[in-house]
Each structure stands twice: as C-alpha cells, then as structure tokens.
Subunit: 459 residues, 2 copies
C-alpha cells in the first residue's frame, strides 16, 4: 500500500502538500517549545514529551515510567481523576499517551481554539499531580492486566522480550518498556512520585504544538501556562550504561504452543542516529529498504521468497532514532517443510551473497526515490510531524538534525550502504531467535506475520 | 587429589582434627562478630566482610566495588598508602582482599599476639579512608590493567563473561565483578567515596576472627577498636533485581583464535541456598558430584569419556552460596574429531538417560560419604572455615545455617536429587556456549581444561 502510494506520487510528478514552518523557543524555566504551522484545517496537536523513558529506570524498578504515564491521568488539585480526558472528549478532541525507551509523551488533538484549555490542563499535571493510594493500587492492577494481555498472552511479544534481553548485555534497552512482571508487582506509589518529581518538570520537557496556530501565540500561551512551573534542580545528564563489546553470537529458541507457524528473527546491534552525525544511520535506513523493505523487490524477498522458495515472508526493520545503540532486525517465516535451521542457513547465504554482489543500481535508484518521497510525503501528516520533532528533541536531537535528515538520506551512496552492511553483519553482535510450537501447532493462534519489534507501550 | 585424600581418610577411618567452638557477638553499632577458636597454632586470621559486592552496584557503575577494594589500601589520616600491608608483612603476616558478587572482604593472617595491631588498622580504614586524587587515578589504571590481563587477554574469561551475560536477563549477576571496561574507565574518585560511605560501616560488616584466641578477648578488642565507629544511617535492605521467567533456551558461539581446543559449557539458572531453607541447594550440590564431580566415576565421565569416547573432559560446578538465583554449570571438551554440536547432543542424551535411569545406589552412597567427609575435612582449615562463616554471614545466613549444612547434605535422598535434577534441566533456563578458534587453532594458547567459572576478583 505504501509502495503503491509512492508510485502514484512519482508518476504524477507531484510534490505533496507540506506543513508549514517549524520554529522553536525556550522558556526561562527550561521548557523547549516547537511550533509547526499548518493552517489547512482548524485543528491543533498539543504534545508534551518528557526526557524520561524506561531506559532511564533504576535497576529493579522496571515499568515505573509506564506506570507513571498511567497515573498522570489521575488528577491534580484542580482536576478530578479522569477529568482531563473527559474534558478533551467533551470538546470534540482525543488524547492519549505513550511510553518508550527514551521518552514518555502526552498529546491531545483538538479544535485550534481549544489550545489554551488543553495547555492549562497539561501544565497543571506537569507539576501538580496528585496520586491517591487507592488510585495507585488500582492502576497497578491495570498495568499488570495490560502486561497480561499484550505480553504474557502474546507469544510474539514474549519472544521479542527474550530476544531483546539476549541482544543487550548491559544496556537498559534489554528491559521491556512495560516492565518485568515481578518488578511491576513491587512498584509503589512512592516510586511513582519519585519518578514524577525528578523527571516531570519544564526543564526536562519538550512542548510541541502543530496545526492552525501562530508561533507568537503559542509562545505567549506557553509562557502563561507553563512559564510559572518550577524546574527540577540538579537534573542529571542522561548517561545510560553502554553495551560492552559483544563477543559471542547468540541463538535463542522459544517454544510455545501458541506459536502457530515457526519463524525466525535475527537482530544485530546497530549504530543509532546521533545529533550532527546521522550518516551511518541513514545508510542503514536505506540498507533496510534494500534488503527487506518490499516483499516483491527487496533482496531477501527476491532471494528467499521468489528465488529458492525458502520463505513465505522476509522483512527487515531499522529505526535509528534512539539515544543509545539500537538493533537492525530481520524476520523470516520459512515455507512449509523448510526447517528453521534451513531458513537460517538460506538467510546467511543471502546476506553473504549480498555482501559480495553489492547493490543492483536500478533498485538503489528506485529506493532512494522512495525513501525521499516517504520523507516528503510524511510531512503532510501534521500529527506525524509533531511526533517526529517531539521524539527527536526528547532524544537529544535538534530541529536542524530533523530537517537535515531527508538530505542525509538522499546523499547516501551505494558505497555507504555496503560499508554499513559490512560493519553491521558481524555474527558476534547478533541474536538469532527461533519461535516454534512446543509440540503440535494449534490452529488460529499467533499472527500470520511476525510483528515488527514493539518499541513502545501506549496507554 | 581431593578424591585421593577422601579415600585415605575413609580407609583410615579417621575423623580429622576439627577447629573448635564458634561463637558470635554483636556490638551496639551493629558490627557482627564471629569467633572460631583453634588453638593448634599461635596464629590468627582476622577478616572483615562487607555486605556489598558487585551485584549491589548501580547500573553503569560496574567495577566500583572492586575499585574501592583496591583503594582501601591507600591509607587513612594515620596510615600512609600501603602502610597496612607493609606493617602486616613486617610482623610476619600476610594480607589480601577480594571482591565478589555478594561481598567484599579483607583479611590478615598473622601471629595471634598481633591481633590488636591488625584490628586497629582494619577498624581505622573502615571509616577513615583517605583517597587522594592521584591515588584514585593510579589505581584506576591498575584495575584496568588487571582487567586487561585477567579478562581481555584470557579467552576463557571473555567467554565466561558472555555466557553469564546471556544467562541473566535482569539480575546483576550477569555483570562481571571486575566491571565492563568502558564503565570502569568512567569510574571516579567520587563514585568510590560514595560507595565507601554507604557500605563501609560497622552495621554493614561482619568481623571474623579465627585461630588462637578466646571469644571474650576478641569481643573486648572489637569493642575497643570497632566499637566507636559510627554506623551508616538508613542503610537500605539488599533487594536486587530478580530474574524474570526465562522463556527461551540460549546458545552462544564465541570464536577467538586464542582458544586452542574447542569446548562447550552449559549453564542452567539454579536455586541458591536460602537461610533456613537449604535442602534444594544441598540436593543440587550432591547432583553436581554425581554428574561431574569425578572424571572416572561421575555420570558424565562414564557416559561421555569412558562410554562413547565423545569427550576428553566433562565436569560440573555448582555453589549454592549466593544471595540470588545462581547457576549450575557443565563443561565438556570433545574428543578429537568430535564436533561441538555432536558433543552437545551427547551431553543432552546423557542428561536424558540420567533423568530416566536415576542414580546408581553404590555411587550415591559413595558420594554422600565423600561430600560429608569433605565438609568435615574442610573444618580443619582455619582460614577456610573463617571464610565460610564470613561468606555466609555477609550473604545473610546465620551461623546456624552454616552449622546445619553438613546435616542437610547428609539427609539428601536419591529422590531429592532426582526431583532437583528434573526441575533444573529446563532448556528455557539454559545457556549453551561454544568456544572455538576463529580460524585455525594456534598452539599453546588457552588452558587445556576449561576453568571453573570465576566467582571473584582478588586484589
């Protein structure tokens, strides 16, 4: 579908409509603001991003970032529990929140003239949250139930959790965002309050407002509602444990009767985008498209699915937006009567061939065009754009880094991609995971297609 | 050699000489004391154990426990750097220290009449350590060099490090005691001082004095030298991150040209001894002896070495003295022309057979006698005994737990062992590691026999 849209755009020679200017400001208390003008519709997206995600959690307190995200809907001195969401809905808007490794974010989408209303409420809960012992208890049950539903009863999610834990020997990226169940059970109201008081502060937040607004107007409103909030003193720089050299290729076997069809994943430790230095990540982004972006035309698709018929599905996933080292992921679902070790061997062979043969110039030109088109096209989605700037700024990047990214992508050469591939495909940095039924396959259990690695937990 | 000694003891029907009474006391500032009387020689072993090991380190600060151990030799207001060790040596004694996951300990062995001297010095550095910026810098280079020598230039150590990192998904036991190099490089004098001030205090220490001393005398001396030291206020209980359910069997492949001869290790997550509840760990201790305690008579020896000739070496290792879940380890070195996967298959087959066949009653009786004899015999070694009580008390056990251990071991039945074995050998709790040369084997590199897992780092 995505490829089809690109094709249409290319054929029509159209440059899609683009949201307007991006401007920034900073308040005296340290709050950073980003305004994205888009006057095509009288709506606004209001987001607050906190530079605090699950990878900032203390050992043994996994899940606290996501727990607090839930508790943020529990009211303040002036708002009753649930009042914020109700008010947004009553005004025809929608709201939600999500927690990831590197950040936690809250957003509302609402008519542009209601911006002061949502800003007032969001500012209120930035510093004045009240958590009653009862609400803390109830919400703990809610997140445990969320884990039960999304992870514990989902074999792909459990498998992914084990794969990541095997991938990261030291980095907190090996810990699931939602938390390990036993540790979640031990989280207390005080843990949540400590987390809140340390990280929920204007000097640790990024405000993003996108839509039918003017920068001056947003800044004035931000001054009014967020300006009076006190920063957290002595906020420590974010310095997470880094990966030591990985010296041994890992292999995990996950057996669960709920896995309907065996599949394998291969992940490699991979460099991330860095502020002012995004070239390697751009090359990996293009590599991912080349290898597994499209079932019909990608290298793995052509070799494994349409070539020797080893697989019925093959894809890759890489997202360089990350504070610390991330992963490059490959998923392969073998054809009937092909074993997982056979599929793995075929995958290794395909990668080896690719490293020797290099890139087909036609495919490269096509993919460069697609990648660039996707970047341009994505600017048409205001909420997606707000999210892109918010995510980047919450992860330590600048607006300039975000703006430069399409050009960095475009300037990637075949040599850059091959160099990145040669560095990436080191067995000792990899984990290969087999997911298979413990005994006989059950009908209608796991999804037919391995899901992309879950990067976040939404409320 | 050990087996030979047991045999001698058994043949002679001798009960070996045993060190005397064990008594305890506690000072008002929380210091716990253990006195082990042994008047056979006019010497004394003086040990101080701190309930602080590498598993208590904060994320990103790996190696701080061991770094501080080194810095403890750097002097106080009244002692120059190195003076403690020099004084001990000048008085005909020896001293050292070691750091492990669960504790850090310091000891001197010296003529009994010099006890006041070493106690005075040890008490002095418990609270009055001075670390100059220069000493901090120099010692950082020393521990980095220690890592270079013991770990980075030792393929077995590197392999072991990766194996443990793969075994523990969440527990800090997956982090090496000496630390990850990058994190060690970032350790500061202030980190060391923070560690010192939090953990080096009488209420976090266990004093063990063994040898030609009287309990009253030791207590009086302890009052004199340690009694005035201030405890750390608000010392938090030791609560480490626990392992989540392990759901996927792991396999790691370590390739290094310095590995002279390929071998494999298999580790399983295993229960540890617990205060008042040591039965399961006792069964695993006996299981380890049965499976791999003796090359000639153990199950793995008979099946893999003398049976089908798959292996030239097979052994097991289990030590239940641990605060959190530990590991049960198996090492196998295949015979020439036997591949690692073949050896692994043979190992799995041997374990399966054992689970079906059960224990040979003659072997069981023999091993029970040996295990008990080893316990009795070990009491003859005063320093070993001091270490045993110190380790146990620093790990949260009581003197009663230590004293009960031989009887718990003796009361283990064949059924206990088989039940423990059935619970232990769960693939999803295991890591299998292959160590092999990257290309061609080099002559005279790695040791001929895989070493037992390193549990501690000695100064």
């Amino acid at each position: 579908m995505r490829a089809f849209l690109f094709a249409l755009l290319m054929l029509a020679g159209l440059s899609p409509a683009v949201a307007g200017n991006v401007s920034t400001f900073e308040l005296e208390n340290g709050l950073k603001g980003v305004v994205i003008e888009d006057h095509r519709a009288p709506v606004v997206v209001h987001m607050v991003w906190y530079k605090a995600g699950s990878a900032d959690e203390k050992r043994g307190k996994s899940g606290i970032a996501h727990y607090l995200e839930h508790l943020m809907f529990k009211g303040t001195d002036t708002m009753a529990p649930g009042e914020l969401s109700k008010t947004v809905a009553a005004n025809g808007g929608s709201d939600n929140a999500f927690t990831s490794y590197d950040y936690t974010a809250y957003f509302q989408r609402i008519a542009a003239d209601r911006l002061p209303l949502v800003m007032k409420m969001e500012a209120d809960r930035m510093r004045n949250l009240r958590i009653s012992p009862d609400d803390a208890k109830t919400e703990l049950q809610v997140i445990l139930e969320e884990r039960a539903q999304r992870t514990d009863s989902n074999p792909s999610a459990l498998f992914n959790e084990q794969e990541r834990a095997a991938q990261f020997l030291n980095s907190p990226y090996g810990t699931p965002v939602i938390g390990w169940r036993k540790e979640m059970e031990g989280l207390t109201r005080q843990d949540a309050l400590n987390w809140y008081h340390e990280y929920y502060a204007p000097n640790n937040a990024v405000l993003v407002v996108a839509g039918d607004v003017k920068p001056d107007e947003v800044k004035a409103l931000a001054e009014k509602y967020y300006g009076a909030l006190k920063p957290t003193e002595d906020l420590q720089p974010r310095a997470r444990p880094q990966e030591p050299p990985q010296r041994a290729a890992r292999h995990i076997t996950f057996r669960d009767d709920r896995v309907a069809q065996p599949y394998l994943v291969r992940s490699y430790l991979a460099p991330e985008r860095n502020p002012g230095d995004q070239k390697r990540a751009a090359a990996l982004t293009v590599l991912s498209e080349i290898l597994g972006g499209n079932q019909a035309t990608s290298v793995l698709g052509r070799k494994l699915i349409y070539g020797d018929g080893t697989a019925i599905y093959a894809s890759t996933y890489y997202d360089g937006m990350s504070i610390d080292q991330t992963t490059f992921n490959i998923s392969v679902m073998p054809a009937k009567d092909v074993s997982l070790p056979e599929a793995e061997k075929a995958l290794d062979h395909a990668i080896e061939q690719f490293l020797t043969e290099g890139i087909d110039p036609d495919q490269f030109a096509r993919i460069k065009t697609q990648v660039k088109a996707a970047e341009i096209y994505s600017r048409d989605n205001t909420q997606g754009l707000a999210r892109r700037y918010g995510e980047a700024l919450a992860s330590g990047f600048s607006v300039q880094d975000v703006d430069a990214w399409p050009d960095v992508l475009t300037s990637v050469t075949e040599e850059d991609v091959m160099a990145a591939a040669h560095d990436l495909f080191e067995a000792r940095n990899s984990v290969t995971g087999y997911a298979e039924p413990a005994s006989k396959p059950l009908a209608a259990a796991a999804p037919a297609v391995p899901p992309a690695p879950a990067q976040e937990v939404t409320q």
